[in-house]
């Protein structure tokens, strides 16, 4: 909302410095997003009339414009705007002018053609751009004779405009009056409606408006007033300036007064040309099935039974109630009699219709949040008074027809407010009288009903307040959040800290970063085609309303995202890239569950020189060690998306699948545009965290020397190293301290399909030095066991 300070001052004497007022507004929750100073730096800016527009001989993006400054001379200006036409009045910054932005205007040649000044856009002369269009500020026709200084033509007096961000619970502050009321309450200033000229008296000779309401649940209050003797013309400069500063474009006095009243009081209203209104009357009713209406924005709307329609007396629709009018019965230059509508619409109904029609308007914004039901009568008086001020001859309003359904109007509740509750929630120590005073300043009607309890009647303009806690906020707001003493909660707290799982997850991240990997963060969304590219099943949770078809499913695996990240880096000449990610994956829910099966997973991809499935095996060994895991096994297996002979599954202590590692399948790598082998590891992190870990008990460290023996077995390729090692451990007995695979050899001498696995076994006793005989016995047992179990022969 744009609120000019001069307009706010119509309601209360705000004489404080602008910065103080801005701070005060923000501290009331009417957040100041911007402050514009207008009216300064416009010396030398004149109203000119466009006489001719022609192409620039040497440029495509600028044209040559002849303007008249009122002296009958043609003055040539080069101009890059395209929104103006011959006959338009526009502002010209003449030579020597220094614009509010600091730009100094000089006579200069643009591509060989003279430009004698600059035609200005609204922003360039420090005015809000009401039309929202790019280009020059087009002034209302007939605003002032060419040559008039712009400040005189617009009646611009230096002013300050606050740009306020009004939260959706404060419809009362979608008006100058409401903003001024809050500000006056904070500054303890008296607030009153602007004095201004009195409304012209009701003329008994003018007929009462013929208005009716068929659907009071949608439209609980409807007023109609016939005004005769209307003379349509331009608005006075002061009104045009205020509307411009508030972000609206002046059109004609009748339309401008209607907008002025809405901006000032917050009561949307509509003026119809009575002579063009079918049957000369209005009715607020439900839409008929599939009733059609073309709204002022030129769009044909199809209405439904719970939409409120304003119809004329012949049954034709003339507007969507409380949202937007239609083009018929629009005010025109020839209008002499107006039917003014000022009504109250039910907020939920307006919200529903507005949302369904996707139709936004100033009226909807106010009605769907709630407009004070007492305002229509006030607005009618203000309308006629302001209209009189725009005309040479007084308009003649007839009696207002006011149709009210009290039961359908929002009620102003009365709330019990306990001072103790206020202080308990805020941590303050305010006395009863202070609470009553703060609420009273905001227009609440407070009367004590007992010790520490008051009965508070909510003013009709505050639909957001219906509970004691809402009053607490009002007290806090006006008292000032900054004046509430800062404390920390007392009392016992439950044990704090990270959970076991959260600590585990951090260790996983630290281990992988420690191993040299970079942590990535990829989006949760995938392109449906990513599943096929990654070799994954084509089943996933879909987003019902995705922004982009390429981001329309929830990831079932972290791999497509990470492979995409590898590609992103490969495209930027980063070759050796090792990434990991921890994040959620989503599977369609099983059974009658509503929510997806959501899991936290870990995935790593390593690409570049020397990386292959054995790199992934190394990464797994590293994690097992870093996380002190125990009892997990690894089995060669085929895994979707992985290389069929270079993949292994990771099984938990009880045999459940925890994940897999190996190499990305060649066709998957190719589908993601990756060259070379990509090592990959993926794990269900929550299941991994539930696996047994090595004992926390310290193992005694023996003082006695160890005896090492190296054994190399030749076994078939089909025999896994893991199974050989298991046999070795089993046969070596409890004096075995460690066993490590230290060499693998393949060669012609061994024959095809066979390799040698060399293990170093270290034996040690806690209490003595082992004898050669003891070690020899165990050596023989191991050799025997490996031969029996795997046909492994000792390599000489």
């Amino acid at each position: 909302v744009l609120a000019p300070l001069s307009w706010l001052r119509d309601f209360a004497p705000f004489d404080q410095p602008v910065e103080v007022l801005a701070d005060m507004l923000s501290n009331l929750g009417l957040v100041v997003d911007g402050i514009t100073h207008v009216g300064g730096g416009l010396d030398g800016v004149e109203v000119v009339e466009i006489l001719d527009i022609r192409p620039h001989p040497n440029a495509d993006k600028i044209r040559l414009v002849d303007v008249d400054r009122g002296d009958g001379e043609k003055l040539q200006i080069a101009c890059g705007a395209w929104n103006m036409g011959v006959g338009d009045l526009v502002p010209l910054a003449t030579i020597g002018t220094v614009l509010p932005g600091g730009m100094e205007i000089a006579r200069r040649k643009m591509r060989g053609e003279w430009s004698n000044g600059m035609l200005c856009a609204a922003e360039e002369v420090g005015l809000p751009n009401a039309s929202g269009e790019d280009g020059l500020l087009i002034l209302p026709p007939g605003l002032a004779p060419p040559g008039t200084p712009l400040t005189d033509a617009l009646g611009i007096v230096p002013d300050v405009v606050f740009d306020l961000d009004i939260s959706p619970n404060r419809p009362d502050c979608l008006s100058i009056a409401g903003i001024a009321r809050d500000l006056a309450a904070a500054l303890e200033l008296p607030w009153s409606l602007p004095a201004g000229p009195p409304a012209p008296p009701v003329d008994a000779a003018v007929p009462a408006a013929r208005v009716d309401v068929d659907s009071p649940d949608l439209c609980p209050r409807f007023t109609g007033t016939v005004i005769e003797g209307v003379a349509v013309g331009p608005s006075p400069a002061w009104m045009a300036q205020r509307l411009t500063l508030a972000g609206m474009r002046p059109i004609s006095n009748v339309v401008d007064v209607s907008n002025y009243v809405m901006l000032e009081l917050g009561q949307p209203n509509h003026a119809y040309d009575l002579d063009r209104l079918g049957g000369g009357g209005l009715v607020a009713r439900r839409a008929r099935p599939a009733e059609r209406l073309t709204t002022l924005d030129g769009v044909e709307r199809v209405l439904e039974g719970d939409d409120c329609v304003i119809g004329d007396a012949t049954g034709n629709p003339v507007g969507v109630g409380g949202i937007m009018g239609g083009a018929s019965a629009e005010i025109g230059p020839a209008t002499t009699t107006v039917l003014l509508e000022a009504a109250t619409f039910t907020a939920m109904a307006i919200a529903r219709t507005g949302k369904r029609l996707n139709l936004h308007s100033e009226a909807r914004a106010r009605f769907e949040r709630g407009v004070d039901p007492h305002l229509p009568a006030v607005a009618v008086d203000r309308f006629t008074a302001l209209l009189a001020a725009t005309q040479d001859t007084a308009p003649r309003p007839g009696p207002t027809t006011d149709i009210v359904s009290e039961n359908d109007l929002p009620a102003s509740p009365t709330i019990l407010c306990r001072t103790a509750k206020v202080n308990a929630l805020l941590g303050t120590d305010l006395p009863d009288a202070e609470v009553a005073s703060l609420l009273g300043r905001l227009g609440f009607d407070v009367s004590a009903v007992g010790e520490g309890v008051a009965s508070v009647r909510v003013p009709s303009w505050r639909p957001d307040i219906d509970r004691e806690v809402d009053l607490v906020e009002e007290v806090a707001r006006l008292h000032g959040y900054e004046r509430i003493a800062r404390t920390v909660p007392e009392g016992h707290r439950p044990a704090s800290g990270l959970t076991t799982y959260q600590r585990f997850r951090r260790r996983v991240r630290e281990a992988l970063a420690g191993a040299g990997l970079l942590e990535a963060w990829t989006t949760t969304f995938l392109d449906p085609a990513d599943l096929g590219r990654a070799g994954l099943p084509a089943v996933a949770v879909e987003v019902a309303n995705p922004l982009d078809r390429r981001e329309s499913i929830l990831r079932t695996s972290l791999l497509p995202g990470l492979l995409g990240a590898l590609r992103f880096n490969a495209d930027r000449q980063a070759a050796d890239v090792e990434l990991f990610e921890v994040g959620r994956t989503f599977a369609r829910p099983s059974g009658d569950r509503m929510l997806p099966d959501e899991r936290e997973e870990l995935a790593a991809v390593l690409s570049g020189e020397g990386r292959d499935a054995t790199t992934a095996a190394w990464l797994w060994a590293l994690l097992v060690d870093a996380l002190r895991l125990e009892g997990l096994t690894v089995h060669a297996d085929e895994v979707v998306g992985l290389h069929p002979t270079r993949a292994a599954r990771i099984l938990g202590a009880d045999g459940e699948v925890l994940g897999a590692f190996g190499e990305v399948a060649p066709e998957v790598a190719a589908a993601f545009g990756l060259r070379g082998r990509v090592a990959v590891l993926h794990l269900d992190l929550e299941r991994l965290a539930a696996q047994p870990t090595r004992s926390e008990l310290a193992a005694p460290i023996s003082r006695f020397p160890a005896s090492d023996i190296d054994l190399a077995f030749v076994v078939a390729d089909g025999v896994s190293a893991a199974s050989v090692e298991a046999t070795v451990r089993e046969a070596a007995g409890d004096l075995l301290e460690s066993v490590a695979l230290f060499d693998v050899y393949r060669g012609e001498r061994l024959g095809a399909g066979r390799r040698s696995l060399a293990y170093r076994l270290r034996f040690r006793a806690p209490d003595r030095t082992l004898t050669d005989g003891e070690v020899g016995d165990r050596r023989a047992a191991v050799i025997n066991a490996v031969e029996l179990a795997h046909g492994g022969e000792l390599r000489g």
Binding site: S26, G29, V31, S167, P168, A424, L425, L426, G427, V469, D470, V472, E473, Y481, I484, P489, G491, H492, R493, P494, E510, A513, A515, G516, L518, E519, W521, F525, V541, V543, A544, N545, P546, L547, F568, N569, A574, F586, R588, P589, L595, G610, T614, T615, A617, W618, W620, V634, P644, T645, R646, E667, D717, S720, A721, E725, A740, L741, F742, V744
Partner: protein, 380 residues
């Protein structure tokens, strides 16, 4: 077009025509076998070209058509073409099988015993060279720092699902269906349950609801996590982002406690000399509600751009950085979660983790967070 498979009446054909057809059957059988026998893509290519190329038996038969009268030529020719096409289709089908088998065979030659690699790695022998240490993502680091700060202040860290029901994301938070405040968040819905009932959480607040439903006060918890909004990505917004939210529920918790807790966090996280301020705002799930600002960490609250002069770009010269929202838990939220608002009170606050990272590291465009460019990731 004559049906290639329709039997031709023998008596309608010349002797030469019959001979061609007899030979055609033999050729068809032979080429079929040859194609089916091909076991590798190379063999298949060879077999196909032999069976269908210019010097194939089909081509030889085709050349003999010249000796037939026009009607017979047409009919016999159609039969030859039909046979040829059948072989072509067979070859195409067989190609897929052969290629899969070929890939399989190539894979077989690459077979690795990965337990061997695990064993070697455990023994300290891996093919990969040790390089420098890696890095956690900037957002993870920021999240960990925030968690640690709150843990030191006596909070636990709670988490919840990213896919949520309408109840947890909106309704329990005092936003019944059609509530206008829902328009404050553009929501992504999932194709689960009735339309509009399952969604991607728009904030971490559903975790508050889950926590209050499952845990009796006192509650002191922060809830970090990923959230989603139907926003077109730009320099300051991502449709996928991270938030951290705090919740305190106990007897006698006050608005002063909220302001004091935010102040304590600000000093603990941003450092001494940094402070916070609260200003009225509106959220459906808190009352009273506030926005909270902290001293701009870039200009230190002076509002002046360091080095160059002029207004600080981060805070537009105000000296304050808008960080997040907060307030006292609305009684309706307590009621939805089964907490008695006459016995307990509480406060909640929340802000964006990515946004904080953006400010602290002065990222011109937030989209760099999800590019995963290694030149970015390795900076932090």
């Amino acid at each position: 077009v004559p049906d290639a498979d329709a039997p031709l009446a023998d008596d309608a054909l010349s002797a030469e025509g019959r001979a061609v057809l007899t030979e055609l059957e033999a050729v068809l059988a032979d080429t079929r076998t040859a194609v089916e026998r091909a076991a590798t893509p190379e063999e298949l290519r060879e077999a196909s070209s032999h069976a269908l190329g210019k010097r194939s038996a089909f081509a030889t038969l085709q050349r003999r058509l010249g000796g037939l009268d026009p009607e017979e030529r047409r009919q016999v020719g159609a039969r030859i073409n039909g046979a040829r096409q059948a072989v072509q289709e067979l070859a195409d089908r067989h190609r897929e099988t052969v290629e899969v088998a070929d890939a399989r065979r190539r894979a077989e030659t690459e077979r690795l015993d990965l337990t061997e690699a695990v064993g070697l790695a455990r023994g300290g022998r891996s093919g990969r060279q040790a390089g420098l240490r890696g890095h956690l993502h900037l957002v993870t680091q920021t999240r960990h720092e925030l968690e640690d700060t709150f843990v030191a202040m006596g909070f636990t860290v709670a988490e919840g699902p990213e896919a949520e029901t309408d109840w947890f994301n909106f309704e329990a938070l005092n936003m019944p269906p059609d509530h206008p405040a829902r328009g404050m968040w553009d929501t992504l819905y999932l194709d689960l349950g009735d339309p509009g009932t399952v969604l991607l959480r728009t904030h971490t607040s559903p975790v508050q609801v889950r926590l209050m439903e499952s845990t009796a006060p006192p509650i002191f918890a922060v809830m970090p996590g990923r959230c989603y909004r139907r926003d077109t990505p730009d320099a300051r917004h991502l449709p996928v982002f991270h938030q951290i939210e705090g919740l305190v529920v106990d007897r006698g918790i006050t608005f002063g406690d909220l302001a004091g807790t935010i102040e304590a966090f600000t000093t603990a996280y941003f450092g001494p000399g940094m402070s916070s301020r609260l200003r009225p705002s509106f959220f459906p799930f808190t009352e009273p509600s506030a926005e909270f600002d902290v001293t701009c960490p870039i200009c230190g609250g002076t509002g002046i751009r360091q080095g160059g002069g002029g207004a600080c770009r981060t805070c537009s010269g105000s000296g304050w950085l808008e960080l997040g929202g907060c307030g006292m838990v609305d009684p309706k939220v307590f009621a939805a979660c089964g907490v008695d608002p006459e016995e307990y009170s509480g406060f909640a606050f929340g802000f964006g983790i990515d946004r904080l990272a953006q400010v602290r590291s002065q990222l011109a465009d937030m989209r760099i967070l999800i590019d995963n460019d290694v030149r970015f990731l390795s900076q932090f």
